[in-house]
Amino acid sequence: MTDTELATRCRAMTKAGKQCKNTTVDGTDFCHIHIPASIRPDNGKAINDETTKEKLSDRELRERLIVELDDLIARIQAIDPEYSPPAFSPKNMVNLMGDQTSSLSPLFRLRILERLRSSINEDLLDIETWKGMWYMVNYTLEYQSDILKRRLKGEYETDEWGLDWEFVEAVRPFLDFMYKFYWRVEVTGIEHIPDYGRTLLVCNHSGQLPWDGAMIMAAVLNEHPAQRLVRNLYANWFPTLPFISAILVKMGQALASVDNGTRLLEQDELVGVFPEGYKGVSKLFRDRYKLARFGRGGFVRMALNTQAPMVPVSVVGAEETYISVAKSPTLARLTGFPYFPISLRFPWFGPLGIVPFPTKWYIDFGKPIPMGDYEPDASENLVLVSRLTDQVRNVVQQMINDRLNQRRSVFY
């Protein structure tokens, strides 16, 4: 090692206590990490960088973070080729931590627990802990009341469709409860949904009430690293209902029409469609796993118009939430409902009949079907549209059948 090479190494120690191996910044003895602020040569430039950084959008920041993480993963894999990176979603992180602690030796785990327990005990006796907690509670309350005050003055934002993120955050605990504890949803294939860009989810529909749409939304929010919001398209009966119509709009859902779907996809949103429509939701119990006709192919035209890939989605478990044995057209006409199910509990037990059974759900996202290869005016080709419609329908039906073969029981 010659003298000139030595001079290019940073003089500082790393946090681990070793000599830093980075090369120095020109004209100083330190690398770009350890250089003291006082002798940083590009002081002015650094400040400029920070102001521009603030202007960066969330999306750009997120992209940068992904690049950095990829870099880190590549470095770890260079050391340990068998390492596979975990998926960075909240639920997966918790699972990962659980797995890691179970792999520790029992003695070691006990020590960690004891340490935690004793520290909690000591802290409870300390007045500062209580002060801190009081401060936290106060802060939270103040924060919440600020939001409320602001909203009462109308100072909040919605997008042009009426999506209100604060409302979505307020509803999420309920959705998460149904998702995690009530139906214990298991999800596979979440990686088929891209982080950015237009995508059309094509889902089967079942279970009398459209809970499946809500659960697909919760699944993507909980499992997907980008936490995208699914913009489901709903049937035109819902806008006539009080409260439900307002809630759907605030959750960013839109009426099912080719115009709406195309516009949402053009805005690079993640759109969910249920091509079976009422025929799907109102299925009788004996037909529960049989897909109904897939509409008139409107969803294929949306995808062809915008060249958005279609991701087939199968939801299994929603079929058994209500057991509908018959449909009453007379009652449907009298009440104005699009269909009126006669189930084991509805309408005999009134509102109790609306409580769904806590079945075990599986949501599978299939391989995307790319649409980029078709001509721009392919959506007017009726043969192609109906062929694609049948193709997607078969894929979803196949996914349902596969899942049914693997399932042990309806409830676990």
Binding site: L152, G154, E160, D164, P239, L241, V249, L255, N260
Partner: protein, 349 residues
């Protein structure tokens, strides 16, 4: 005088006509001819006023002798009740005026309409484009007349293709000086809404209405255009920004209430300036053509429209009070932002 273009504005005694006339009288290339059945209440500089009704059969001769280039038809009686006199004036008047224009060889006709002609329906797309069918409700007088006028104008465009016809469909117009269904609704002590319904509404400021009309007088852009401010907002947010507590009515009762007999000669629909369906279902118009083909961008954002209205109201009702002060602050901030937007738009173009 000879090289000036002559613009005939009907209804100059009313708010819109008077505003447009005073806006255009500042333009050096235009000679503004005003037509109405009454003198404008305030004197407008440079306005050449003619006292006449649009249904007058001699109107053709006036148009020919004055060599009128553009007719801006703004005379419209906006009444909630169905009324034969108003219908005769609005619909028959428009037919006669357009007929006279075609005969006199007027180059350009501008007509003011509303996005309410699309109608509010549960199966409406979230953004209604100009080529969608007009399914508006005919229960309220002004809406009924507008639909008739639109149907007639549609036929007229086919019959006389040499005339440039521009129809501007405005969203809910809000402004302190204007009198529109939406301002009447917001001036109620507690505006009635339907329980559990919160449709998206599109707004436009009164100054932007006049601005858009002036824009089409100055630039030729035949066709039908939706005009509205950027950023539609839910009805609940509109009422919160307007500082109004709504009266929530269960919808089956609300629809029935319109069928009640008159009490004290007050028709129930007078108390509900906006029809229930329009407070229940979406009827937001698509503004792509306004941006791209018309090339007009309103100065006010939707929330600024409401804030401006609210602060005007507070200044009038509660001068110097706490609210006036609080709203005034945000109001001034909006003004600054708006001026900056206008400057950046100018510099970019």
């Amino acid at each position: 005088m000879a090289d000036k273009k002559v613009v005939l504005i009907t209804g100059v005694a009313d708010y819109w006509g008077a505003c447009l006339a005073s806006r255009l009288s500042a333009e050096p290339d235009f000679h503004v001819l005003g037509l109405d059945v009454a003198q404008p209440p305030d004197k407008i500089d440079g306005l050449d006023f003619v006292l006449a009704d649009i249904r007058n059969p001699v109107l053709v001769e006036l148009l020919e002798s004055e060599n009128v280039d553009t007719v801006c038809h703004l005379k419209f009686i906006e009444k909630a009740e169905r009324n034969e006199a108003a219908f005769d004036h609005n619909v028959m008047g428009t037919m006669k005026l357009l007929g006279a224009c075609a005969e006199a060889g007027v180059r350009k006709i501008i007509i003011r309409s509303s996005t309410a002609v699309y109608g509010a329906f549960p199966d409406n797309s979230a953004f209604l484009t100009e080529d969608m069918p007009l399914r508006g409700s005919r229960q309220y007088g002004y809406n009924h007349d507008l639909l008739e006028i639109e149907a007639f104008v549609n036929g007229f465009i086919g019959q006389s293709p040499q005339t440039l016809v521009t129809v501007l469909r405005f969203a809910n117009i809000i402004g302190w000086s204007a009198d529109t269904p939406m301002t009447r609704f917001l001036r109620l002590p507690s505006p009635p809404v339907l329980l559990g319904f919160d449709p998206m509404l599109q707004l436009i400021h009164e100054d932007d209405v006049v601005g858009a009309l002036a824009h089409v007088v100055l630039n030729d852009s035949p066709g039908v255009f939706n005009v509205g401010a950027e950023g539609p907002m839910p009805l609940s947010r509109l009422l919160r920004l307007a500082r109004k507590g709504p009266t929530r009515i269960f919808h089956p009762l609300a629809y029935r209430s319109l069928k009640f007999p008159r009490v004290n000669k007050v028709e129930p629909r007078r108390l509900v300036p906006i029809e229930w369906d329009y407070l229940r279902y979406p009827w937001v118009a698509d503004l792509t053509r306004m941006r791209d083909e018309l090339g007009y961008s309103p100065a006010y954002l939707a929330e600024e429209v409401v804030r401006e209205f609210t602060s005007q109201r507070h200044l009038k009702e509660d001068a110097g009070g706490h609210y006036a002060f609080a709203c005034g602050e945000q109001y001034l901030r909006d003004v600054i932002e708006r001026r900056q937007r206008a400057k950046s738009r100018e510099s970019s173009s």
